[in-house]
Point group: D3
Chain length 78, copies 6
């Protein structure tokens, strides 16, 4: 009876996308459920998966909102 919670920033994986697609979400659900089946022998039916998309201004890293963190990291890399 596992519960897998996946928290990601609300962003697309391609320039023309604003968020995770329904297909990508289905792949996460399938993959997480199969992982619990393969590693701990939990039947697929027993696993709940919850995906939480978090707005980028609500996600922090390195003491900064994530988009600002990436900007500063990119600037340092130049």
């Amino acid at each position: 009876m596992p519960i897998v919670t996946i928290q990601v920033t609300r962003e697309g994986t391609a320039p023309d996308r604003q968020s995770v697609t329904a297909e990508e979400k289905a792949a996460l659900i399938k993959g997480a459920s199969e992982l619990l089946l393969n590693v701990l022998n939990k039947p697929l039916e027993a696993t709940f998966v919850v995906i939480e998309e978090v707005d980028t201004e609500n996600w922090g890293l390195g003491g900064l909102p994530v988009l600002e963190y990436r900007r500063q990291l990119a600037a340092k890399m130049k």
Copy 2:
């Protein structure tokens, strides 16, 4: 000082509703707070309740997004 977190899919309990209503949310908050009072003797004032509504495409069960899971289950039942 309990915290009760209730995660449900964002769906209505009747065909013409898209989500949990404010009345239903108030009933969940009241019921969860009274449960902690009755079982563990926690005063109503001490309990926080947080309701999280999760889009159906973000909720997985049986390795599938929940609406697809229900479709396949319904098909099997025929």
Copy 3:
């Protein structure tokens, strides 16, 4: 398919107990599941309940660990 998470301090409801008892946990699980059935018509089978017991030194309120908070509150009440 709701998930109900109940976080409480790891304390007994009587002087001779150090923690929530198995009977009290069973009552929380039963009550939370019935609440979702009554309010949102979710079948008992569909609801997961997870109880998290938190050590009192890991729980804060009013800027203080909870036992210290209660001590100061009790002193003020005298």
Copy 4:
């Protein structure tokens, strides 16, 4: 590698605001990350901060949705 999750009601801190501002969120992220650095010596880079804004009708206290709780409390205080 700490994770700090901050749950607040979706409300503004001034009458003309409907929610937490981006500046306030950045201050929460900075403050939480510095707290972990100062107290536990965790490098800023190691800390994730996630802010969750919860609609007021989804937040309960004293057995009531929070706005109703405040209304009743204000009435008692008169």
Copy 5:
């Protein structure tokens, strides 16, 4: 910068084990991180995985603690 939280009951996958083994935990961490890499192109370094083991008396299903639920289900199946 995803966070994956995996909640499972504290049980072994073989009769002589009382809990998830370190090897199984490492496999869950590896699998969850690779899933985020494969589906959303998130670098392994960016993903945090947290495994929470929950005592069986703290996990409820069908309105019952999970071991009692399984007992009743097994009895029905006879």
Copy 6:
């Protein structure tokens, strides 16, 4: 009425300690509560803080349990 959840690995900040000390936890509780007061004007009384200590074998990063991740990182740095 904010809730701040702080998840850290169960480790000491000095070689002779196995976990976060009670003093460090009190400092986290105080700091987190003051942060919400300073940034969002939330009264200290309104903020709950919950600290979750996670065993190092239950925390993953870079696709590895955290201690193994640090070992490989240290080896690369030589």
